[in-house]
């Protein structure tokens, strides 16, 4: 349809937008409606605090400047912890993946422990991390690093090890050493996989940061600690708005990593034009 008149092109784009945006909007509207039904008809005035009607959540959580400021400050703090931990996990994970790709014995020695870190419930590690590293920023970052490490290691390692044999032949023919092979072949080849790992880890990092905040109560409070405070105060309306911000943070990290990844590899993955 690319050669059609401008108006029909606009119409087809509009139709595309409607097709993508309309269905989730309908679901949202149904959910909001259900909230009203449960809040007014099922719970009634006595127990309405369990699920306040949506406009109450908006009024208390988003329009009240004190609450809003409290939540956004906490969100900023959580973001800092999540990104710090994710960054460290990225550096460490890439380093481990490189070492594992260079020597089979490193992979054999360390891979089982990477799996164990991943399969151990993060909540079980948290108390120990607190005892060893305090209950402050550092401990929260360590929890995030632990939870975000594994996807980065496995995806990067996969990218490093799946270079086609004929590419290696070219490097062998010209007597390229290990370092040249790593930097000119294996690492660039692994870039798309690294971003896949980072995207998964980004979501996990936000979870790790919030979980850490439930336990580590020193220093500035993050959104996780606010959630715990609201729970104790039975402020369901604020719980819901804080939950909204947590979701948004997870989405934002996921989307940003995806965007950077697409930008970085766009040129060499684009479809044939000629």
């Amino acid at each position: 349809m690319s050669d059609g008149p401008a108006s029909s092109r606009f119409a087809s784009r509009l139709r595309n937008v409607v097709y993508t945006v309309a269905p989730p909007l309908v679901v949202l509207a149904v959910a909001v409606g259900a909230m009203y039904v449960v809040s007014y008809l099922v719970l009634g005035e006595q127990k309405q605090f369990l699920l306040p009607p949506p406009h109450e959540v908006v009024k208390e959580g988003f329009l009240d400047s004190t609450n809003l400021k409290e939540q956004l400050t906490a969100l900023g703090d959580t973001t800092k912890v999540a990104l710090f931990g994710l960054g460290i996990a990225f550096l460490l994970g890439t380093l481990f993946a490189i070492l594992m790709s260079q020597a089979k014995w490193v992979e054999r020695s360390f891979y089982p422990y990477a799996v164990i870190i991943q399969t151990t419930p993060i909540l079980a590690i948290v108390p120990l991390v607190g005892l060893w590293f305090g209950f402050d920023f550092a401990a929260r970052v360590i929890v995030v690093t632990l939870i975000a490490l594994f996807p980065i290691i496995t995806n990067t390692l996969h990218g490093l090890l799946t270079v086609d044999a004929s590419y290696h032949d070219i490097f062998t023919l010209h007597r390229a050493g290990r370092v040249r092979r790593l930097f000119k072949l294996e690492l660039p080849h692994a870039v798309p996989d690294m971003f896949i790992g980072l995207r998964v880890s980004g979501g996990l990092a936000v979870i790790g940061a919030i979980v850490g905040e439930f336990f580590f109560r020193q220093g500035s409070p993050g959104i996780g600690r606010l959630l715990d405070v609201y729970r104790a105060e039975l402020r369901t309306d604020l719980l819901l708005s804080a939950l909204f911000w947590s979701c948004l943070l997870g989405l934002a990290v996921f989307w940003c990593v995806g965007y950077v990844g697409r930008r970085a590899t766009r040129a060499w993955q684009e479809e044939r034009r000629a």
């Binding site: 070219i170 007597r175 060499w268």
Partner: protein, 267 residues
């Protein structure tokens, strides 16, 4: 059928034997070369032939007959299990069945790769790459990524990359096998022109008789696995070959002989 024998002991740099019908100095010599893979597959048995300086030798044979293995042996990408191979020089070009371009590098940077791997200074490898780009007619495509190129263009880049270091021995492993007929004969015209201009020695693997006769000064015919050389045909026509050569009487006569030899190899 006289096959030029090569000296057993490798003697790099020293004078090499020039035996058999080939009066020119051999650049590459196979002597009763054998290759059996660890899984027991016998790919190549007792293969002997020489490639002289400035000679274009094609190897045709049924698929799976060990033609590619022959090239991998010559390039020392895989070890021999019997016999010997001598090579009088180190500077070889290699073109694979796939273009094997690095997708994250532009055409220019792909062609510069070999200069980087051999540790040439930046300026030198850039000017070599520029020469290769011009030689193969890629001007205007330097900054394209491989993903934006057609199959024929990718192969052209692969040829240019193989030529950057000005190899004296060029090994081509069925480079045009995956291309359509029109693109393939276009690139054959290009290759015969490059051969005449650059004067390298070449070993060209193919399963197309037309391609082999058109490009080569000599065509070797291989049997089904284990691959042995069962026929050898000279194509005494000057280079560069004109596209019309494909429709001349001499061409079809040689092609018929090669075809007959191939058929015998199946029997």
């Amino acid at each position: 059928m006289a096959l030029p024998a090569a000296k057993r002991a490798p003697d790099p740099g020293g004078p090499m034997s020039t035996v058999g019908t080939e009066p020119r100095q051999p650049v590459l010599g196979f002597h009763e070369a054998c290759k059996t893979f660890p899984d027991g597959t016998e790919a190549v048995r007792d293969v002997s032939f020489g490639v002289g300086k400035g000679e274009f030798v094609s190897v045709v044979g049924p698929s799976g007959c060990g033609k590619s293995t022959l090239l991998r042996l010559a390039a020392q990408l895989t070890p021999l299990t019997g016999g010997s191979i001598e090579r009088s020089l180190d500077n070889i070009g290699y073109v694979f069945q796939d273009p094997t371009l690095l997708p994250w590098r532009t055409v220019r940077r792909n062609i510069e790769l070999l200069g980087e791997l051999t540790g040439l200074a930046k300026q030198e490898r850039q000017s070599l790459a520029q020469d290769a780009i011009r030689l193969v007619g890629l001007d205007g495509f330097e900054n394209h990524y491989p993903a934006a190129l057609s199959g024929g263009m990718k192969m052209r880049v692969s040829l240019a990359r193989g030529l950057t270091l000005r190899p004296k021995l060029f090994l081509l492993d069925e480079p045009f096998g995956a291309l359509d007929e029109i693109t393939r004969s276009g690139l054959n015209d290009e290759l015969t022109r490059l051969f005449a201009a650059e004067q390298f020695a070449a070993v060209f693997i193919t399963h197309s008789i037309t391609e082999a006769v058109f490009l080569s000064s000599r065509v070797l015919v291989m049997s089904a696995r284990p691959g042995r050389i069962i026929g050898q045909f000279d194509v005494p026509v000057p280079f560069p070959r004109r596209p019309e050569f494909r429709f001349e009487r001499e061409f079809s006569q040689i092609a018929e002989q090669v075809s007959n030899a191939l058929r015998e190899g199946y029997g």
